[in-house]
Each structure stands twice: as structure tokens, then as C-alpha cells.
Amino acid sequence: MVKRQLAERALMKALSTSGDFAELFFEDRLNNSITLQGGKVEVANTGRLHGVGVRVFKGTRSVYAYTNDFEEAGLLACAAQAASALKESERTGAPVIRLIGSVAANLHPVERLPGDVAGAWRVDRLRAADAVMKSVSSEITQTICRYADSDQRVVIANSDGLFIGDRRVYTRVTLSAVASDGTENQSGVSSPGAMGGAEFVERLDVEAHARKAANMAATMLHARQCPAGVSPVVIDGGFGGVIFHEACGHSLEATSVARGLSEFSGRIGQKIASDIVTAIDDGTMPGEWGSINIDDEGTPTNRLVLIENGVLRGYMIDRLNARRMGNASVTGSSRREGYTYAPTSRMRNTFIAPGSDDNDEMIRTMGDGLYAKTMGGGSVNPTTGEFNFAVMEGYLVKDGRIAEPVRGASLIGRGSEILLKIDRVGREMTMAQGVCGSVSGSVPTNVGQPMIRVSSLTVGGR
């Protein structure tokens, strides 16, 4: 994709002023996307993203510039532009950079690349899902089925001599159903994905995901509004893990920790969660949606323990924030959506580890409360720890029994408080796929957990 000698020249140009570290991120990415609406192909497109980002550090200062131009003149001009931002002290004699080439070890082998699969094959898979969704209920009035894959090739080079290539293939199917009775609409969705190619969809139980989405929409159409109040809440596994992602995960990213903005800054070794909570961020899980080989700074990925039996053990740390944190070690989790973003510390596959509690027992002994079967998305303010997320499919629990479905519930609180209120952690951990948006763009992440119980949480509703 790019010649080593050219990368060397660009890095030297980037360090021609007072920078002390320079990095290049070359990206060439093919995207395919097909959408069926109501069973008919409405969107089918293919495209190619292509660009390079140049990053220069001076101490804890960072400059980022990017361009679509891989040609020598364009790249060197971009590097010079980045260097000129640090123009106040000119260097005498630029450093000599020698790059040593390597290729990232592939932890996530792909059997069928996106380019090897015909569009018609993708359409057939979606059509099967569409038929299942429509068959669930006559109240399903609209269906949207999407198949998206991408094949991203990157080369990352830096002034420490790194010159490494990597290839990341992602595939995801998104199935949405809308149920309507003419005056009200409710929706349901299931969107499985993997770091892998078309073999993921071949092996996927597409029909089960279709049924899940359609059942959710049909059930919620007949649900009453969730009453507002404070109560115990049981959150199911899979996408329920978004609770940890929002309530705690973002606040453990160096992006907010390094500047002392996070509520968990400076608290390594302290108890921040209930004793039964152990939380992991793991980039190495084979074929998982949030997995990587190397991060977007070229560091091999790893498995990082964030919380162990309630005690804070680690943060997710990227190169720039490592400097701000007194030369802390990087954790192989610096990520970016693409070349238009500078990378920073982000989550990968983030989950609460399995515990020892029984799912039935935690509902049976909760009294009155809410069972959140399927969570929607959420967000957090890492500075204050205030989080919120939506319950897509929820049920009232009355006297330890799951009762009627309720819609429109949301859960709010502060991360530091909810972690201490987790009083049950189930035995079987499952994960679900999400797209996490933050300062370095949208990246694929898994959330996960066993079923858990929170002793008391504010439930928004009406």
C-alpha cells in the first residue's frame, strides 16, 4: 500500500520542527452495504475509503493532520503542515529514521473475504430474515434488514522504527422490525456482528435473530408505559453489558483519566465496585466484534483486567495519554474510526466476568422491580459519572415474579454508585455487538455480562 522509504521521508518531514515522535496511519478500506426495506433491496452500495493521518507529539502536545493523498507530494505536504504547527523552535538537522517492516499476527482468520461474496448471496440471507420477521405477527408493518461488511487494510509507521501492516475484516447484520396498530409504533432490533467475513453469516442463526427483533416489537406494542420510580433492577446478559460500558468503561479510558477528569482518576488499588464484580476489556477474543490484532498505534492487543473483585486494577491507555500519566504503559487499545481521527484509548470487548449467582434466585428474591431483558444504547458524562440508558424490552417484576411487559423505561445513575450496588452476578456471560461513539469516532465494541442485579436504581418512565 505504501513504500517504506516514502514513510521514512514523511516521518522525517513530520519531525523537521520540534516534534519528538511522529506516526503515520495509512488506511485503504472497502465497504459494502445492502439494505432491504420491506423485503425489497433499497440500498446497495460499495465504496472505498482511502487516506493517511499524520500525528506528531511534542511532550504532551499533539498535532494531527490527514489527507486522501498517498502520493509523495501530498503526503509530504501533509507531514510538513503537521510539523509547522510546532514551528516555534526549529530543529537543527532532522533525525534519521529507519523503519523495520512487519505484519501483525492475525488472531482472527477470515475464511470468506467480503470481496469473494456476491451481492445476491447477501440479499438471499437478508430475505430469509425478512420472511421470518413478517411471519411472527400480522402487526409487523415494516422491516429493515441490513448486511454491511468492510475490509480495512492499514499500515502504521512511527519514528521508533515501527512499520506494520494489518487487515481487519468486519461483518454485521442488522435486523429491525416495526410493529404498529395504526396509531402507535414500536420497534425491535437485533444486530449480530463479528470480526470476520461471510462465514460469520453462513453460521449465524439469522432466523433466531429475526424472531427476536420481531417479537420485541410486537411485545412492546402491547406493553404499558413503565412507571417511574426507584427500585431493584435485574439486567439480562448480552447487550445488558452496556450498563458497565457506560457507567464505568468510558470513565476508565485515559482520555478522561489522564487529565484527572474521571471520577475514577487516581483510584488504582481502591475498591470501586461490589466484591462480586470483576470486569475485563479483552481485544484478543477470536473473531469477536470488538477484537483487534494490533491497535491503531500499532501496539499488539491484549487482555486487560479493569476491576478485580471490586478493586480498580487498570485503565485503558494510549500513547499520548501515557505521557500525560507519567509514562504509563500503553494497553494496546488505542483505536479510531479511520484516518480522519487521531486515535485514543477506547474499549474493545468489555464485560463483567461470570459470578456465582443463580438467575432464578435473583429475580425470585428481588420483590417488586424491573427486569430489563434487552437494553438499548446509552451515554455517560465521564466527568460527573452520570449515565443513562434505555430499556428496549422490559418487564415489571411483582413479588419475585416476572409480570407484564413495559415500554419507555430508562435507567439513570452515577457510575461510582451503581458499581457498589451490584448485589448479584450470574454464571453465564454473553456478549452483544455495539458501535461506540467517542472522540476518535465510531468503533466496533462488544459489551457483555451475565445476568446481574442492582439493588436500587432510578427508573425513568411515566
Binding site: 420491506g38 425489497k40 433491496v41 433499497e42 440500498v43 446497495a44 452500495n45 460499495t46 465504496g47 472505498r48 475509503l49 482511502h50 502536545r61 499533539s62 498535532v63 494531527y64 493532520a65 490527514y66 489527507t67 486522501n68 498517498f70 501533509c78 503537521a82 504547527a85 451481492g119 440479499v123 416495526v178 396509531t183 409504533n185 420497534s187 408505559q225 420510580g229 426507584v230 478522561s256 484527572g260 477528569l261 471520577e263 484516518y339 480522519t340 438499548g376 444504547g377 446509552g378 451515554s379 458524562n381 466527568t383 460527573t384 452520570e386 443513562n388 440508558f389 434505555a390 415500554r407 423505561a409 430508562s410 439513570i412 472522540v439 432510578t458 427508573v459 425513568g460 418512565g461 411515566r462
Partner: protein, 458 residues
């Protein structure tokens, strides 16, 4: 079109477009259209009086749409090497062969005339790099000097500017170009007292640096961060709610998709079939004005090349029109409203408002509070991408604000949710304020008293 002489589309791109349209014709594409968008951007975020993050960028891409046998294919690229034209043509052919959308599609030949609109900064980039860095440093310094409880700022504080160019060239003679400048400043003061932390965001948008009110944005944000340090949840129950202009803008932005004819035709909007009917209180008028002076989305043509014009989407409570592109208009037997929009150069053509806002009324926020007597003013909403559903209209959102007692601002409130339904809320609107702002770009609002909503607190 106003075109500033010192920035222009590279000639090489015009040459590429010519080559591409010729290749499309040779490849069997009956009609083709090249859509190009390029953005030059600059960011300067500061920390402790120095630039901590600095960005200077230039990127863009081109999408080719083409008609083959009555079906529209699409492909896009950011690489303009020798393979690019061939890849685009074969991508369009494959895409068109898969499309089954029964709706008629076509490429536009051009409107009779286009409005002359000023969308450029007075000085290139809205100011020089040095001026922007100085502004960012001064803003940080000011925000840190206003209150002893504010000793830190949040993650990004500084200035960002963009210059965007759009070019549409069709095989049928369409040949359009537009450009726009935008600049924004942001400051995020964090107030701390003991263990408690509270933050607020000051954000302003304009075309020129000189139009960004540093003093006002810093003072407002610092005052809000400090004020909210004492906030706590109020009791759960039903409250008369005023959404302050910025919170109301967020809510309108969240639900603006319900006014899209595309969503309506697909059964994704409850406004399907409601044109001409009363859907809001009589005092409600909702405008889409692509010609608004200084608007973030001011434009003379939309992303299909159709001339834009101002319109009342809600007119005195009645749904005046949905927003259309060419395809949705044809299906409903009306004309395009000039609201075709691509979220990015590579995205399919959908529908979006331009400068979209509730027509302001006569009362300022204090007067609205006086009229409400007892209630809540909501100043901040979080998690709208999760806690609001534009298909059902339901929302249940983490909120901050303050209690109104005896018609006056009383204690600050946080860690509550406000829940309701957007469609019901439109009908219950009691009063619309005079304080119209556009805090995040094209969509804006004055403060609005929306009647009673359900609050979960303590």
C-alpha cells in the same frame, strides 16, 4: 453561486469527473451523476495556555450515481487513482442490478434558478490560525478566572473551523457548486466542591471568529457548572415543564426525522397521511428555512441539485408539508421541497431539514417561568440516541435543570428523567418563548412550555 477565488475545486478533480462520466456512458450507464464533497478543517484545543491538540485536515470523496434499466446504482471512492473510475462504474452496475426498490428514481436536470446566498466567512477560514489559537487560549484563561470553584476544564476547549465544498455534475447537464464556512468555539468548565463535580458546555457557532461571543459563552457555562453543584433529584411526579431553548433544540433534533416523507412512506413516522391535519397546538409554527442568513445549513440547492426554498412545516398547528426529495415527492404526487440530503458524500440520498426551528413567541424565559408558576425548567438532556424513539415518539431522558417556584427560578435539579411522547407534547404546547437559538447547527428553538410531563426523581 458565490465562489471565493482563493479556494477552488482542484482542476484535477474536474478532469476526473469528465473522465468518469465518459467511462460511465461507455460502461452502459444510461444517466450518471458525480457528487463530490470536500472539507478542509482546522482544530485547535488548548490546555494550560498551550495548544494540546492541533489538527489541520483536508479530505473528501466522490459518489457516482447511475441509472441502469430504471434502477439507481451507487458507488463511492476517496482514491482517485487509475482504478477509481473503473471501480465506480462496476460498483454502480452491480448496485443497480441488485436494487428492487419499486419507487421511480431519476436524476435531476436542474431548477430554473437558484437563490444567491452568502455562506462564506468574511475572511478565509473565519480568521487566521494565530487568531484562532489566541482565541482558544483567551477563552480557557477567561473560563478559569471567573469562579474559584472552576479550576479545570473538560476534554476539549478551543476552536474548530471548516470549509466545505459540494459539487454536483450530471451527464444531463447539471453542473452546480456550493461552498460554506463554519467556525465554532467550545469551553467545558468543571466545577468541584469536595467530592462533587459538575460540568457545563459553552458552545457557539458562526462563520467568522469575530462573531463568537467569548465573554458570554464562558460566563454562562461557568455559572451553570457552579450552580449545578448543589443540584439533587426532585420528587417523582408530574410537573409543568419548560424546555430551555438548548434542551428544546436537542429534542427537536432528535425527532426531526418524523417530518421526513421518506420515513412516513416507509411506515416509520406517525405523521404519514397527516398533511393538512392539526398535529400541534395553534401557537406552533415550525419552519424549514434554507435561506436563513447565517444559518449553519443555508444552501441554495439540495443534494440532488433541487433549488431550496423556505416553508412552514407546521403552520399554526396544522401539518403544512412533509419534507421531500425527488423520489418521495414523486410517490406522493407533489414537488420536491428541496430537502434531499446525504449524511456524507458516500451516503444514500435521504431527506433532512435545513435550518429548522420553532417560530419564536413574545415571552422570554423569565416571563415563561412566571406564567408557569410551579414547575421545572429543563436545561440539559442526555442520551437522546438511546432514550428517545422517533418511531413511537416516546422519550425518557436523563435531565438537568431547576425548579420553578412562585414563578421564579428556585433550586437546581439533576439525576431525574423526563418522559413523554413527542406527538402528544406538540399538541399540549402552552407557550413558545422569544429566545430562539441554534446551539448545535441547523436545528434550533426558543424555550418552550410543553405542559405537564412525567418526572422520575427520588
Amino acid at each position: 453561486m458565490p465562489v471565493r477565488s482563493n479556494v477552488k475545486v482542484p482542476d484535477a478533480m474536474d478532469a476526473f469527473i469528465d473522465k468518469l462520466l465518459a467511462a460511465a456512458k461507455a460502461g452502459g450507464i444510461e444517466q450518471a451523476e458525480a457528487y463530490m464533497r470536500r472539507t478542509e478543517s482546522f482544530q485547535s484545543f488548548v490546555e494550560n495556555g498551550e495548544v494540546s491538540e492541533y489538527g489541520v485536515n483536508s479530505s473528501g470523496g466522490l459518489a457516482l450515481r447511475g441509472m441502469v434499466g430504471g434502477k439507481m446504482g451507487i458507488a463511492y471512492t476517496e482514491a482517485f487513482d487509475d482504478d477509481a473510475a473503473e471501480m465506480l462504474v462496476s460498483g454502480v452496475l452491480e448496485s443497480a442490478s441488485l436494487i428492487e426498490d419499486p419507487d421511480e428514481q431519476f436524476l435531476f436536470e436542474g431548477s430554473p434558478s437558484y437563490a444567491e446566498l452568502d455562506t462564506l466567512a468574511k475572511t478565509p477560514g473565519g480568521g487566521t490560525v494565530d487568531e484562532k489559537i489566541k482565541y482558544a487560549c483567551d477563552l480557557e484563561k477567561l473560563a478559569l478566572s471567573l469562579d474559584p470553584l472552576v479550576t479545570k476544564l473538560g476534554y476539549q476547549n478551543g476552536v474548530e473551523s471548516t470549509h466545505t465544498q459540494v459539487r454536483i455534475v450530471g451527464s444531463n447537464g447539471l453542473n452546480l457548486r456550493r461552498e460554506a464556512d463554519g467556525i465554532g468555539a467550545v469551553v467545558m468548565p468543571v466545577a468541584r466542591r469536595g467530592e462533587r463535580a459538575s460540568d457545563a458546555t459553552g458552545l457557539r457557532l458562526a462563520r467568522d471568529l469575530s462573531d463568537l461571543p467569548m465573554e458570554e459563552m464562558a460566563r454562562e457555562a461557568v455559572a451553570e457548572a457552579v450552580y449545578m453543584l448543589d443540584a439533587s433529584p426532585c420528587a417523582s411526579g408530574s410537573y409543568e415543564i419548560i424546555f430551555r431553548h438548548d434542551a428544546m433544540s436537542v429534542l427537536l433534533m432528535t425527532f426531526q426525522g418524523v417530518f421526513s416523507a421518506e420515513n412516513a412512506q416507509k411506515g416509520l413516522s406517525l405523521l404519514q397521511g397527516k398533511v393538512g391535519e392539526t398535529i400541534a397546538a395553534p401557537i406552533v409554527t415550525l419552519l424549514d428555512d434554507p435561506h436563513r442568513e447565517g444559518g449553519a445549513n443555508t444552501r441554495s440547492f439540495d443534494d440532488e441539485g433541487v433549488a431550496t426554498y423556505p416553508k412552514n412545516v407546521i403552520d399554526g398547528g396544522r401539518l403544512g408539508t412533509l419534507l421531500h426529495n425527488l423520489k418521495t415527492a414523486k410517490k406522493d404526487g407533489v414537488s420536491s421541497t428541496g430537502n434531499a440530503a446525504k449524511a456524507g458524500y458516500a451516503a444514500p440520498v435521504r431527506v433532512a431539514p435545513t435550518n429548522f426551528y420553532f417560530k419564536p413567541g413574545g415571552d422570554d424565559l423569565d416571563a415563561l417561568c412566571e406564567r408557569v408558576g410551579e414547575g421545572l425548567v429543563i436545561t440539559d438532556l442526555a442520551g437522546v440516541h438511546a432514550g428517545a424513539n422517533d418511531i413511537s415518539g416516546d422519550f425518557s431522558l436523563l435531565s438537568k435543570g431547576y425548579r420553578v417556584r412562585g414563578g421564579r427560578k428556585a433550586e437546581p435539579v439533576e439525576q431525574i428523567t423526563v418522559a413523554g411522547n413527542f406527538f402528544d407534547m406538540l399538541k399540549n404546547i402552552k407557550a413558545i418563548g422569544s429566545d430562539l437559538t441554534f446551539p448545535f447547527g441547523g436545528t434550533g428553538s426558543p424555550s418552550v412550555w410543553v405542559g405537564a410531563l412525567s418526572v422520575a426523581g427520588k
